[in-house]
Symmetry: C2
Subunit: 228 residues, 2 copies
């Protein structure tokens, strides 16, 4: 298994997200340390168009896969840059670890990889499993208006979060070359990760929230009660 960490130097809404410090280290350092410390991968590669970012990644223990600049534009797709990566690196599975998931814990990555190993999927997506009364197209999806049941009994909705994704390399290449969408290629499975390890980093508010969550893991507020 190879870990691929996609990391452009440019980013749209938050400028230079991957080298911006989240608390005490640049964002890109989170997935690199996670992958390196896991001991799960033959190889850990940062997939970037930027030589500078590549050199930084190397100081943090990753290798550098230089992505052609035309696959690092705002319109370049995951499909295309992952295909180019797969062609260059022989392996059974490519595990994409997204830098925008700094909340991901070591145990969760290990569980995900184990799931990929023991199952027989060509694609494994990471999801969060949500048990809540849900509407879809304006209609109740997993509940009825006739009764209110305990949310723990509701059928969950599993939402893909793209924190970690596994692709069987040969299948990915084969699909791409046959004009079939390889991102959801072959036999598709999904694996739920804890909700509090998922975050978005599209806006500065989301960035601060992720920082707040990380800080809350370190600095626990003292337990205090109102005196009644």
């Amino acid at each position: 298994m190879i870990a691929m960490i996609p990391a452009r130097l440019g980013s749209k809404r938050i400028s230079k997200k991957n080298i911006r410090y989240m608390i005490d280290k640049p964002l890109i350092q989170y997935p690199i340390e996670l992958a390196v410390n896991s001991g799960l991968f033959e190889s850990i590669l940062v997939n970037s168009e930027s030589e500078e970012l590549g050199r930084v990644a190397e100081t943090m223990g990753a290798k550098f896969h230089k992505r052609p600049p035309e696959l690092a534009t705002d319109t370049a797709t995951n499909r295309d840059f992952t295909y180019e990566f797969c062609k260059k690196h022989a392996c059974d599975y490519v595990i994409m670890v997204n830098p925008t998931s700094p909340l991901l814990k070591a145990e969760t990555l290990a569980n995900f990889v184990k799931f990929v190993e023991i199952s027989d999927y060509d694609t494994v997506l990471s999801t969060i499993s949500v048990q809540a009364e849900s509407f879809y197209k304006g209609e109740p999806l997993n509940f009825t208006f006739a009764e209110k049941i305990n949310s723990q009994l509701l059928e969950p909705v599993d939402e893909v979060i793209w924190a970690i994704t596994a692709w069987r390399r040969d299948k990915f290449i084969e699909n791409q070359e046959n004009g079939v969408n390889p991102v959801f290629g072959g036999k598709v499975g999904y694996f739920a990760i804890p909700k509090d390890e998922s975050c978005d980093l599209d806006t500065l508010e989301e960035w601060r929230i992720a920082e707040g969550i990380l800080l809350s893991r370190i600095n626990k507020q003292q337990e205090r009660y109102l005196n009644l």
Copy 2:
């Protein structure tokens, strides 16, 4: 409109949650201040079995609705205690503001109330609207494996979060007395609130995350970049 803030003194997983300090004030103070400062309600009542909690709520600017003890057990339902409340307080709508939503902002509460006023629903639920590839019962719900589309183009799933709920009082009473579930009674609408104003408070980890998010609104980390 009347605001009802349900708050038992006991709580299952986090002990005495409502009087536990979240950062600098007890949890119950968040919804009370939110409702009081909004100026939107004729009356703001904390619905509790506890006289002590009631007195505290009064010092914070709310009134106290004493709930019969049999409606404050672990098995008592929202349906039953809200019915008992409705019978005692004449109004057009009861707006339930949940103490487990300390992240809720004033603007969001105001937008919700405005939506209730201008629409003609008997029940209005609060939701978060999620645009992500979603699986339901193991099958893709709002996407197909044939293509990967931009998540902003995906049909959202709207998840009920119970942060704020509005019920037309007369309809609620009528439904309950006719053996119809009043929680989703009459014409049911829903209103999406920002995702970062929603949280769970069932576990200590979730509690700390909410604290982290609140702290991140106050103490912004300094913006800092890696020097490439």
